[in-house]
């Protein structure tokens, strides 16, 4: 930020612009800037640096909440969903390593039976982590894969079952119905299990991410977001709108393509990185 020597319209404009560049959208950017103006008045802030810190607080406040994974069932189930190419399969590979490091026995379900070599891709991640993966042929019914995986998770005494799913656009009715079917199979076959439904969102996504979150939430009750590809120049600010609108917390962030490139979400660090 350029050195401002006082808090005036120029500073507010610069901050609003930074929020727009971070993909918060114009409306949310204006709303947060107005909230900042209020706080500057009530808290008698006079230094520009303090005003910026106050904006950090507003943002990390908006994103705070329980970011932990609910793994209370036995097995606990995690389902990863989202549009095409956002990083679902890769995030599952990383998450498996993270959960194993916490002593959990993980089993995977290759329920993307549609995309070319999607099963092979997850199989490589299963090998990297030395875990079992339940698979059927390409083109088979993804709900059948999940049905078998639920049975296997019980019989093999797994702690966590993670289900990959095919990328799908949220505006494709038939594909969302397929997803709903998978969700229902898990609920039916493992009624005692906890179920985390994680929506993978690509940090480069613009305002459309709100539509994605709304539509996926209607189909399979989303419990958290994995915000991927934060290692680029995109800031992923759209998650602030999603949190405000739908109260869905970010639980993980992806910062690369390697097995350790998944981090638990830290709202303050995110808020700071947003305005850099």
């Amino acid at each position: 930020f350029v050195a401002f020597n006082n808090i005036g319209e120029d500073l507010y404009e610069e901050l609003e612009e930074a929020l727009i560049f971070a993909d918060l959208g114009a409306e949310t950017a204006i709303a947060l800037t107005n909230e900042l103006r209020e706080n500057v008045k009530t808290k008698r802030i006079s230094e520009p640096e303090e005003a910026k810190k106050e904006l950090y607080n507003i943002i990390s406040e908006a994103l705070s909440g329980d970011c932990s994974l609910n793994l209370s069932g036995k097995p606990a189930v995690i389902m990863v969903i989202g549009v095409n190419g956002v990083g679902k399969t890769t995030s599952i590979g990383k998450m498996t390593a993270l959960l194993q490091s916490k002593g959990k026995k993980v089993i995977l379900a290759a329920a993307d039976t549609f995309r070319a070599a999607a099963i092979d891709q997850l199989a490589i991640w299963a090998d990297r982590n030395n875990v079992t993966m339940i698979r059927h042929e390409e083109g088979s019914d993804p709900a059948a894969v999940v049905f078998d995986a639920c049975a296997a998770a019980k019989s093999r005494n797994a702690d966590v079952l993670i289900c990959d799913t095919a990328g799908r656009l949220h505006n494709k009715k038939n594909l969302m119905q397929e997803l709903e079917k998978i969700y229902r199979v898990i609920k039916r076959e493992l009624p005692e299990s906890s179920l985390e439904v994680l929506l993978a969102l690509d940090a480069t996504t613009g305002q459309n991410a709100v539509n994605q979150a709304e539509m996926f939430k209607e189909t399979a009750d989303i419990t958290g977001i994995v915000l991927t590809k934060l290692d680029g120049t995109a800031k992923g600010g759209i998650v602030i709108n999603i949190k405000k609108k739908l109260n869905i917390p970010v639980k993980f962030i992806g910062v690369g393509e390697g097995i350790e490139d998944l981090q638990e979400f830290d709202p303050e660090a995110f808020a700071k990185a947003l305005l850099e």
Binding site: G93, I124, T204, G206, T233
Partner: protein, 292 residues
């Protein structure tokens, strides 16, 4: 929609005749908000606004009976002009094979678009060979092999090799011209700020001298589209863009952003996961879509 909003803005003054500069300012604000909501990059919106404002202050708006309609027409025409215009055909090399290189961020749709391009070229009587230069992502080579099978194109890979530049060079050099006339090189997704991997693309470009370098951009991309397009274009001098995932409900402002900062044509719009989901890009349709 923007049209409705602008009609509202101008309806307010129907009573007292002439459009004032203040009304134009209000209309410009509505236009700016609509473009930002459609993910057009903030810098691009600013320069677009200035271009439109000059025209909006001209006589045909100020004295018009329907100033809202006039302004919309100016905006739409300006958008179409910015995104359209020049040739968006694929170059064909005078000396076969024609070489096409696919580049872009991770997950944009490069591998799938490679197959769609091959399908499109086959319909024109061409004989494409797909080359697997993504030696990094798990099962990326296998994915392209399956895609080649789906579209009936040739497939070249070097199992065990981790040198994309060598693979690309060999594929082009050894291309059997009695069977193939076009080589499409699929590359690994990479960040535009990854110097090493961007350097690899430059090395592939120098090794095979492609006729086309197509940047695949996800149509749902937000403000960052400008940073990505600028970097890929500055380092590779791309020849065109493919806008993928146009079958989503995004308004697709990234199209304008990418075009504005690179000056390169959007050659195709991809709208689906099947091999025939590739279409020509229509600037006027895109303009309406962005305006919402």
């Amino acid at each position: 929609s923007l049209g409705e909003k602008l009609q509202q803005t101008f309806k307010k003054l129907k009573g007292h005749g002439k459009v004032s500069e203040k009304d134009i300012k209000e209309a410009m604000r509505e236009i700016k908000m609509a473009l930002l909501e459609a993910d057009v990059n903030f810098k691009v919106v600013k320069s677009f606004e200035n271009a439109v404002k000059e025209k909006a202050l001209g006589s045909e708006v100020m004295e018009s009976l329907t100033p809202g309609q006039q302004i919309i027409k100016i905006v739409r025409d300006e958008l179409t002009a910015l995104m359209g215009g020049e040739n968006s055909k694929l170059t064909v090399s005078p000396k076969p094979p024609t070489v096409i290189m696919m580049v872009g961020l991770q997950g944009a749709g490069k591998t799938t678009t490679t197959g769609k391009l091959a399908t499109y070229l086959k319909k024109q009587g061409k004989k494409p060979l797909l080359v697997a230069c993504d030696v990094y992502r798990p099962a990326a080579v296998k994915q392209l092999e399956v895609v080649a099978g789906q579209c009936g194109a040739g497939f070249f890979s070097k199992p065990g090799s981790n040198k994309p530049v060598e693979i690309a060079k060999e594929a082009v050099k050894k291309c059997d011209l009695s069977i193939y006339d076009t080589v499409i090189i699929d590359t690994a997704g990479r960040l535009h700020i990854d110097e090493e991997l961007m350097g690899e693309l430059v090395a592939i470009k120098e090794a095979v001298e492609p006729d086309e370098i197509l940047l695949v951009v996800d149509a749902m991309t937000g403000q960052d589209a400008v940073n990505v397009a600028e970097s890929f274009n500055n380092q590779l001098d791309i020849t065109g863009v493919v806008l993928a995932k146009m079958d989503s409900d995004t308004r697709g402002g990234a199209a304008l952003s990418v075009r504005a900062v690179t000056g390169k044509p959007i050659k195709f719009a991809a709208s689906g996961e099947k091999m025939d989901d590739l279409e020509q890009f229509y600037p006027d349709r895109m303009a309406s879509r962005i305006l919402g």
